[in-house]
């Protein structure tokens, strides 16, 4: 299920593409609208290439409505990223919660706090 995570991450590893995602998170937009802010620093084909990468990663969907070509954000792969990152973000917190509980059992076993060793079990 997380098989596309890699593709999603390589698609998101680029600031231009993240800016495009941010734009689309506000609602659908035509290719020309998405491209406009980038045309000062890159060519239209370069912009289109970025959009293709996002499309291949399943992050956006391009449609065709008469003359318009609106793009919209597809949240599913981002949800996978979110779930994955959530898991990592929580990793140390949860381990520390367990350590806290475990330390309690250890410190009560060894008479008083301040006494060091817990090696002798």
């Amino acid at each position: 299920m997380i098989s596309n995570l890699d593709q999603t991450f390589s698609a998101l590893a680029d600031p231009t593409r993240r800016a495009m995602i941010a734009r689309l998170s506000r609602g659908e937009a035509d290719v020309s609208d998405i491209a406009r802010p980038f045309l000062r620093s890159m060519s239209l084909p370069a912009v289109t290439k970025h959009l293709k990468v996002l499309e291949r990663a399943g992050l956006i969907t391009k449609t065709r409505v008469a003359q318009r070509r609106p793009c919209k954000l597809n949240a599913a792969p981002l949800k996978e990223v979110e779930d994955w990152t959530q898991q990592y973000r929580a990793f140390w917190e949860e381990s520390f919660d367990r350590l806290e509980v475990f330390l309690k059992t250890v410190t009560t076993n060894t008479t008083k706090k301040g006494k060091k060793n817990v090696r002798n079990k």
């Binding site: 590893a13 800016a19 949240a75 367990r98 060793n117």
Partner: protein, 317 residues
């Protein structure tokens, strides 16, 4: 360090690997503070900031669930590179929740930040402790560490601090005695078994982590430095059953080698503060670094916008 806490106070101490000028600047410049202020997942918008006694910092905190929290902080004392006293948590509708005193001092290029939150009563302090824990409030100070590291070394890192109610030796033992280590470290749902455990400088361990669903991941750690009872440095990699380096089975772009630095410090009263610094080790591709940055929830530039919007988007689904 006499950390004998008064019942109505909450104290936080952190050491930052940066000169006091850098830490002060990160605190007081409105553009910089926007990069790290608030728990992981929060962002802020500053409306105005008047850093002088009697001046007000007017800002809105945006929670990961889309909730906005208006804040008006009033400064009482502003001593450059040394001291800040301010009220926290107040706005037009409510009085401040507590008064904060922050002392900054530099030794050997490192900055110590001593923070005291003073509440009206011990009960209010207890209540505030709970609120801070619930919102992961202490991660703010980890984000500050990540931010200053990024400014100074250019590297993306992850920091986490926790204070444990046990002396340094005991806590150190939790990391270096394999039997203890395997009890608390593995991710939720996993059990950890050491295949080899030679925890000393230059030594290495290999282990298996399994869950109920029958998934087993193998890993190894190499200990680069151990200073009992204050410091541990080790690298970690995923590997196969035979010990050959591999990638995370579900995320091949997770960086191949991670470096963990664990620092222990005596906080007085039989308490020990543990600081974990986590970073990508060796050469890594931009994808790997992006993955790590996302995973730490560090809100590095570029992620900020997309992720707080994303939360709304996902909530709307």
């Amino acid at each position: 360090m006499s950390a004998t806490n008064k019942a109505n106070e909450i104290k936080i101490t952190r050491i930052y690997d940066a000169p006091v000028a850098a830490v002060w600047y990160a605190w007081t410049d409105e553009k910089q503070v926007a990069q790290w202020w608030g728990p992981r997942g929060f962002t802020i918008t500053t409306h105005s900031k008047d850093l002088r006694p009697g001046g007000i910092w007017d800002y809105t905190m945006h929670g990961p669930d889309g909730t906005d929290w208006p804040n008006k902080t009033r400064y009482h004392v502003v001593e450059k590179h040394a001291k800040l006293v301010y009220d926290h948590g107040g706005n037009d509708d409510q009085p401040p929740l507590f008064k904060v005193t922050v002392l900054f001092s530099e030794t050997n290029g490192k900055t110590k930040m001593d923070m005291t939150m003073g509440l009206a009563t011990p009960e209010a302090a207890e209540q505030t402790r709970k609120v801070i824990k619930k919102h992961g409030g202490n991660s703010t100070w980890d984000r500050l560490a990540e931010y200053v590291e990024k400014q100074i070394s250019g590297k993306d890192m992850f920091f986490i601090n926790r204070t444990f109610d046990a002396p340094m030796e005991t806590v150190f033992e939790m990391w270096t005695n394999p039997e203890h280590f395997s009890k608390w470290l593995p991710p939720t749902g996993f059990t950890m078994k050491f295949l080899k455990a030679d925890i000393r400088k230059g030594g290495s361990t290999s282990y298996a982590m399994s869950n109920d669903a029958g998934m087993t991941m193998y890993g190894r750690a190499d200990y680069l430095d151990i200073k009992r009872p204050a410091r541990l440095v080790y690298t970690q990699q995923f590997c196969d059953e035979q010990g050959n380096i591999s990638r995370h089975p579900k995320a091949p772009t997770w960086p191949e080698t991670m470096l963990t630095t664990v620092t222990l410090a005596d906080e007085g009263d039989g308490q020990t503060r543990v600081t974990v610094k986590w970073e990508v080790y060796g050469r890594a591709t931009p994808e790997e670094i992006a993955m790590f940055s996302a995973a730490r929830g560090g809100m590095t530039q570029g992620w900020t916008g997309s992720f707080d919007k994303l939360e709304d988007l996902l909530a709307a689904k």
